[in-house]
Amino acid sequence: MKHVALSVLFDFGARAAAGLALAAPVTAVVVASGIGNFPGGDRLLFERGGLLLVEVVRASWSLLPPLALSSLVTGAFVYAALALPQALVWTALGEATPEPTPAFLGRACARVPAYFALASLGFLAQILVFSLGLTAAGMLHGRSSANPLRADLGALVVLGCAGVLALMLGVLRDVAGATVACGVAGSKNALRAGLRVALTRPLALAGRFLGPTALGLALVILVALATGSLDVGAPEGSRFVLVAVLHQLVALAVTVCRTVWLKSAIAVVRPQLAGGSAARR
């Protein structure tokens, strides 16, 4: 339990640090715009009417393409680096009995490449599916221009299907990750085993996935509604700190929700793998 709690906290901290790394260049661009010279500072960006928000975008427009490119590169490094906290969380969740910390860390580090491969393959598959969905929706929209309402709805349905498929690929990636946590070696074997489990117990996995995911999503939306204008009208101070703390609590809660799902996935996968091994024996 101690390993789980520490791993989840480490994962949360790593994601926060990664978020900071990705956010810093954007903030630098905003600082360079000169908005900080106004007494209201960057609070003015969130004022109704958006006069200075639009002005900052206009002033920084030429910086956005290189910023997007550099963010992609930073994102790639961050993505790779986050394989370590993932491996720690998975390994901690997969521990049948508590292990000594050095052994635990060693086992987690050995699994980093597998989790990196699974995460990257999942990312590639999701992006491809979404791109294909986007293309198909565009083609469908172009063909049914006679009835715009139907064309728009048709394209939305196709995009929605692509989204659901991408989500399912994410679930498959997680189930494969669970098999690694249960002792399957290598991403290829994990994917094969994960696919087998996903096909065998789809409803059990769907139920366990949707609950924590919906809870996390609901938290994000609720806090967005609650904090939308909480500190925008006030100078930087206690309300700004309150919003920042709330946001990080939500980020932590989302990480915990994910952990609950991963734990459930392991609970579904473990007996399947044990059963499969027994049957093979």
Binding site: R15, A18, L20, L22, A23, A24, T27, V30, V31, S33, G36, F38, P39, G41, D42, R43, L45, G49, G50, L51, V54, V57, A59, W61, A68, L72, A76, Y79, A80, Q86, F116, A117, A119, S120, L121, F123, L124, I127, L128, S131, L134, P148, L149, D152, D174, G177, S187, G216, V220, A224, G228, E236, F240, V243, H247, Q248, A251, V254, T255, R258
Partner: protein, 680 residues
């Protein structure tokens, strides 16, 4: 390679491929490209705000509205061949020479010939950079079969025609017809014409798509006769619009019986016979006639502010009709109060089907074409309100104040855009362009950015054809004019400004004013400084950028040095600052030609604010400040009155700039959530 290495390599390759695909998707979805930011900031069930109090116009009420002069009146009978997209018509044109000069010739506009072949001025215009993006897939043209003047004999005058623009003989949109005998000043001439108009596939507000027809600029139309006896004739350019004399229109339209027609004026008669329907329309005191015909139109009729409003729209656009009628309900009475009463009994709104979107966003007297997808407004944008209000306001700045659109487009589109901005702002406040997902954007914010992007390309008052592209025309004629006027309204007072604009609209009602008429009227109401700014900003390329150069603070110390006093020379040694008082200095610069008064806020570290006003004359203004605390900020134009200011972000200086923690916090949170989407 062992399993771990293989996994690491596999992960790296997959991640790289994923990022490449993601970058492609970003580009496909419109991720920022290095162009003008303002062009990407596209321009607009909020709580209703009360109508802004209408400016009092005590001076204006004394100005009697003019009556239309009825120089060119038309009686037309037209038959639509829906299958061939052709309109065959007969036209009786009654024309009065109101000038002091005998007229040896007439000039006609045959606008449809713009779509006849690639040699027309219109099709030689830079397409894709013009008002629309479509190119006609089916040619359009107009053939005049006969043109006689019974009072001058039975001879057909048309064969003697010559190109109206001799230096451009390939263009057939501008035609000169010599008269056998000059038309004396004050005399009336009646002409009989027969014509056949073939519509193009829809392009720039005219033409057909399947069985939808928008029939605009479709008949031989006399060019406007200026007061000096010359005709204002011009080849039809893709960036230009129109210009004509006032008159009465009596038009009979013969269409297939199942066709629903929306037209200029009021329908006085309708009868169905032998599979055809004949609608009879009359419009008095207007300067154009257009109509739309489509069997699939749905129709909603309402009475709004005493005007019979008829909305024609495609199925599925009921939501847009609600937005349209709501927009008319607040905009029509407001415009009548500010710019003179809407003088007609009807207003027809045509929302074209989506595939004929290019026919939308256009104004004709008593008829406006809107447009937009079925989901407009559902997600917080004000697209439908914006287009409806804009085209409605053209009823004043085009319809009733009929300036020369092709020569000075800012007088109709610029003034209309300003009036639109004000109307939407009065109704929707800070969310006048967008209000959704916790974000509000005002029209002024977006227009400002768009206007600033091309501020100095060419003078705003240039002719439509003189703009290098329609993007430039849009940025200057529409948005920069609106921002110039909005700036003046904020600087000189909203009430005074609206009163001045109302005076212009009333003084030149049913007239054809020039830029000088506009500048003079505004100058009379607002003063010579405002007139000078208007002329510099609109007739020239005047611009302005206020900025703070330096902000320095120092503790005040007693004077030291060698002083020759009445009692003898005294040397006062340097003393340490007391720390009780501080001296601060800031330099305010004005770049550009426009001299506008501006407020400057001086904020000290104790949070006290002192406001100064600089009249804007001269290139710089030095602020010497003495106070109990250091100056922490100097802010020029804290209320953002000067939307014309080229760069708003150099309007402030701080002793210690804000580090933008809020941006860092929000961006970090968003990035964390995004990582949660992409990672297990």
């Amino acid at each position: 390679m062992n399993g771990l290495g293989r996994d690491a390599l596999l992960g790296g390759v997959a991640l790289g491929l994923g990022l490449v695909v993601l970058e492609r998707v970003e580009i496909a979805l419109g991720a920022p490209q290095p162009r003008d930011a303002s062009e990407a900031l596209a321009p607009p069930a909020p709580a209703r705000l009360p109508l802004e109090p209408v400016a009092k116009a005590t001076v204006l009420e004394a100005i009697t509205p003019n009556e239309p002069s009825r120089v060119a009146s038309y009686v037309m009978k037209a038959r639509l061949d829906a299958a061939a997209h052709r309109v065959d018509g007969k036209e009786t044109l009654r024309f009065v020479n109101h000038s002091a000069r005998p007229l040896p010739e007439l000039y006609f506009h045959l606008y449809l010939n713009a779509f006849k072949n690639d040699s027309s001025v219109f099709l030689r215009s830079p397409f894709g950079e013009a008002r629309g993006n479509l190119r006609a897939e089916d040619w359009g043209y107009i053939d005049v079969k006969r043109c006689t003047a019974p009072s001058l004999g039975a001879a057909d005058l048309w064969p003697a025609r010559t190109p109206g623009s001799p230096d451009d003989p390939d263009d057939e949109t501008d035609v000169r017809v010599p008269l056998p005998t000059p038309l004396a000043p004050g005399a009336t001439l009646e002409l009989e014409l027969e014509f056949s108009a073939k519509l193009p596939s829809v392009v720039l507000r005219t033409g057909y798509v399947k069985n939808f027809e928008f029939v605009a600029q479709w008949f031989p139309k006399l060019a406007r006769l200026e007061d000096d006896g010359t005709f204002a004739h011009f080849p039809f350019h893709a960036q230009a619009e129109f210009y004509a004399d006032y008159g009465d229109y009596d038009v009979t339209l013969d269409v297939p019986a199942n066709t629903v027609v929306g037209a200029v004026g009021r329908r006085v008669e309708s009868a169905v016979h032998a599979g055809r329907r004949v609608d009879h329309y009359r419009a008095e005191g207007v300067h154009d006639f257009a109509w739309a015909a489509w069997p699939d139109f749905h129709e909603v009729d309402r009475r709004v502010a005493g005007v019979d409003v008829r909305v024609l729209f495609p199925a599925g656009h009921e939501n847009n009709v609600t937005h349209t009628l709501d927009a008319l309900a607040f905009a029509l009475p407001r415009a009548s109060a500010l710019y003179g009463t809407y003088p007609y009994s009807t207003l027809t709104v045509v929302h074209p089907p989506d595939e004929a979107g290019e026919a939308g966003g256009m104004e004709y007297p008593t008829l406006i074409a809107t447009g937009g997808p079925w989901y407009s407004g559902l997600f917080g944008d004000r697209g439908i309100e914006s287009v409806t209000v804009h085209e409605l306001l053209h009823q004043w700045f085009y319809g009733l104040v009929a300036s020369y659109e092709a020569r000075w487009p800012f007088l109709d589109d610029g003034l209309t855009r300003y009036a639109e901005l004000r109307t939407l702002d009065a109704e929707f406040g800070a969310g006048s362009a967008f209000d959704g997902f916790g974000l509000t954007l005002s029209v002024a914010s977006l227009e400002r950015a768009f206007a600033a992007a091309r501020a100095e390309d060419v003078p705003v008052s240039s002719a439509a054809a003189a703009f290098p592209s329609f993007r430039t025309l849009g940025a200057l004629v529409y948005t920069r004019t609106a921002i110039v006027l909005e700036t003046l309204a904020r600087v000189y007072g909203r009430e005074r400004f609206e009163g001045a604009l109302g005076a212009y609209a009333r003084r030149f009602r049913f007239a054809h004013p020039t830029p000088n008429d506009f500048f003079d009227t505004m100058g009379r109401e607002l003063g010579p400084d405002a007139r000078r700014v208007l002329v510099q900003a609109l007739d020239g390329r005047g611009r302005v950028d206020f900025l703070v150069r330096d902000l320095q603070n120092a503790p005040e110390r007693p004077p030291a040095g060698v002083f020759d006093r009445p009692g003898g020379r005294e040397t006062v040694p340097l003393a340490s600052p007391t720390g009780l008082h501080f001296r601060s200095r800031a330099v305010i610069l004005r770049h550009g030609e426009l001299e506008l008064p501006v407020d400057i806020d001086l904020v000290d570290e104790a949070g006290n604010t002192r406001r100064e006003r600089w009249d804007g004359h001269g290139a710089l203004h030095v602020i010497d400040y003495r106070g109990d605390a250091r100056l922490s900020h100097v802010v020029i134009d804290p209320e953002h009155k000067l939307l014309l200011d080229d760069d708003l972000l150099d309007n402030a200086a701080a002793a210690r700039p804000n580090p933008c923690r809020r941006t860092l916090e929000r961006a970090t949170y968003v990035a964390e959530l995004a990582l949660g989407l992409l990672l297990p």
